[in-house]
């Protein structure tokens, strides 16, 4: 249900453990040793929690629902930076809606 866009993914600049791999609560993401790309190894076990979506430093990961529960292609992307998490929701019609939420009240 999450998809990594390899045109955007920067392989965490060669870090041994990728951010998405580090954070996934189900340990579903691994790294392909041949090209150093993070790979969702067990896509059918995804909980749709968006931990990887938010933690990706370059917003390369999108969330979609499995086709069997939603046959329309809305998708969600996010960036967690500083005190805020910013979201981009892309509707089926390609229209985008953006959100910026302060999720940590410390100055």
């Amino acid at each position: 249900m999450v998809k990594i866009d390899y045109k955007v993914c920067n392989r965490c600049e060669g870090a041994r453990e990728k951010r998405c791999q580090r954070i996934c609560p189900g340990d579903l993401i691994g790294v392909n040793p041949e090209d150093d790309r993070p790979v969702v190894l067990y896509p059918e076990d995804c909980w749709a929690c968006t931990a990887c979506v938010k933690d990706c430093p370059v917003a390369a990961i999108t969330l979609k629902l499995p086709f069997q529960v939603l046959d329309k292609g809305a998708s969600l992307r996010a960036t967690a930076k500083g005190r805020k998490t910013s979201w981009v929701l892309e509707g089926t019609d390609g229209k985008k809606e953006e959100f910026e939420i302060i999720v940590d009240s410390r100055q």
Partner: protein, 558 residues
């Protein structure tokens, strides 16, 4: 299989809400204490809170008291709760919430500076980053954290818990951890029952799919007493995406209507055996309305203006982003969302299944304390109640940790666990963990009141379920793991089978219907306070695996 040995003073199993609070409390009171959390995932985004949270549902607003909170919980759970535990939670709720707010959690406030009520006992939070905020507090307090280590069993010596075994989920390392005190805070159990959707959507579930009941299972295998496993928790949620109906109903004022657009709750109210328990009432009414041919049932959001809709969307991003995908795919302007009951779970935070503990959160095993979803008898504790329980457990553990040297652990004990854990890698007999899990979920669904039977139970089916689970347990040695990830899945399904067996024994034993849907016996359809206003507890024989049922009175005693 490499073996790594570690020693600590206080071992906390599970770095979720309860575990993080226990760790912070322990290090605040005793900064020199060695405190170690082992966590199956990464503490920044593990367990129930990985997705975020948009409300705290246990908080005492001005005018409420611990006693009024207890009355509410008692009423919701048909009079059968541990009053001592619920009161001890209620007394600590507001302080823990304040503390987490100081750590950085944004909480919505009214013009008077108080937290703004969202319902009578709830507040609205911007909790998308609640888990990272808790994890950071843990790091600030210099707690050692071992991420990606899943507990596999407790270590006992002369009847006392002296540590735990852990499995490195990526490299298969066996950790042998000795401790002077152990707090169990692993959460409850999902995946015992067949989920609503198969295949690629099988993990679109209410509860974290990696909370598999390991905390219960390791306690059961060590002889700890458990309570109320028949009190299964079934969440009324938005169908498929499992979005919280509270966000829609309380947060956005949605009406609960049937297929014809009629509000249906009222018509069941007068005759409902659960009219005083809104949680059970809303679920049961929805099941009945569907059975009467007036489904689907919906939460209707068509009344929302643009501004409210926008805030509603933000609430969803903080807790249930999938729901936003569903919402945004409605291009016909119809904002009704179908609601259904989830498959049953076993939890001690919404429901009351878990370790039988005393008011200081001691389990029946010396040296082991329990907090959060894994601790029983005190439902509706939710996240803030888990924090309080973590604190209480840590305080008790600190009082009882002594300066005696850590006991030696016999090589035979380590060897035995090493053989048990590594078996699916070595002695491959062809059953992948996923297939074992599907078999378990099918048995539970069909014979122990899952979704396909609309939660209904009867003696004969439960007996079939008991027999099939016994057969399934017998083929556990046939599990095969191709890699370390699958090895963890093997351990998880073994734990789930142990928990499921206990659930069935509890469901068989309670011969009344106390909590409709949660525990609906067709053969004993009425609530029977004269005989059943008591707890059903269980202990597993550590040698034979046989489950013995015990009864405990309302006062928590025999």
């Amino acid at each position: 299989m490499e073996i790594v040995r570690k020693d600590t003073d206080l071992l906390i199993i599970g770095g979720g809400a309860a575990g993080c609070f226990a760790a912070v409390e322990a290090k605040t009171q005793s900064p020199k204490l060695r405190c170690l959390i082992i966590e199956k995932a990464h503490i920044d985004r593990s367990g129930c809170l990985a997705m975020g949270l948009n409300a705290i549902n246990a908080y005492l607003h001005p005018g409420e008291s611990p006693e009024s909170y207890l009355n509410h919980v008692k009423q919701e759970f048909m009079g059968l709760v541990r009053e001592d535990l619920v009161l001890s939670i209620a007394r600590g709720l507001n302080d823990t919430v304040k503390r987490v707010e100081q750590w950085g959690l944004p909480v919505e406030k009214g013009t008077d500076g108080n937290y703004k009520p969202r319902g009578r006992r709830a507040i609205r939070i911007i909790g998308e980053r609640l888990k990272p905020i808790l994890a950071e507090a843990v790091r600030r307090h210099r707690v050692e954290v071992l991420n990606r280590v899943a507990v596999t069993n407790l270590i006992l010596k002369e009847g006392k818990v002296v540590g735990a075994f852990g499995l490195g989920v990526r490299d298969g390392t066996l950790y042998v951890i000795r401790a002077k005190g152990v707090i169990i805070a692993t959460g409850g159990a999902s995946g015992l029952y067949k989920p609503p959707n198969p295949g690629s959507a099988r993990h679109l579930m209410w509860y974290c799919p990696w909370n598999v009941g390991t905390g219960y299972a390791i306690g059961l295998r060590a002889g700890a007493e458990m309570t109320s496993f028949e009190n299964r928790f079934i969440a009324l949620r938005v169908k498929d995406v499992q979005a919280p109906t509270g966000t829609l109903a309380l947060g956005a004022g949605a009406r609960q209507v049937n297929a014809k657009g009629e509000p249906y709750l009222e018509k069941y109210h007068k005759d409902s055996p659960v009219k005083d328990s809104p949680t059970y009432f809303r679920l049961l009414s929805t099941v009945l309305e569907n059975q009467a041919g007036r489904g689907p049932c919906y939460l209707d959001l068509n009344h929302l203006d643009t501004q409210t809709l926008r805030q509603f969307k933000e609430d969803l991003l903080n807790m249930s982003p999938s729901m936003l995908l569903m919402l945004s795919s409605r291009d016909n302007g119809d904002y009704r969302f179908e609601i259904t009951g989830s498959e049953p779970y076993v939890v001690g935070g919404h429901g009351e299944a878990g370790y039988w503990v005393d008011v200081e959160r001691r389990t029946t095993l010396q040296g082991l304390y329990a907090a959060g979803d894994v601790a029983g008898g005190a439902p509706k504790k939710y996240v803030s109640g888990c924090w309080v329980e973590g604190q209480i457990a840590a305080r008790t553990a600190l009082k009882e940790i002594n300066n005696n040297p850590l006991p030696s652990i016999e090589e035979g004990t380590v060897k035995k666990e090493q053989v048990r854990v590594s078996m699916p890698l070595k002695d491959r007999k062809g059953v992948p963990p996923q297939e074992m899990e599907e078999r378990l979920q099918k048995i539970m669904d069909e014979y122990a009141g899952g979704l396909s039977t609309q939660y209904e139970l009867n003696e004969e089916k439960l007996r079939v379920g008991r027999a099939l689970l016994k057969d399934l347990k017998a083929v556990v040695p046939n599990l095969e793991a191709k890699n370390h990830h699958e090895l963890v899945s093997c351990m998880e399904v073994v734990d789930r089978i142990d928990v499921a067996r206990v659930v069935v024994e509890h469901l068989l034993y309670r011969k009344e219907t106390r909590w409709p849907c949660s525990q609906s016996r067709i053969d004993y359809p009425k609530r029977d306070d004269a005989h059943w206003l008591k707890f059903v507890n269980s202990v597993m024989d550590v040698d034979t695996g046989e489950i013995q049922i015990l009864e405990k009175g309302l006062n928590g005693k025999d």
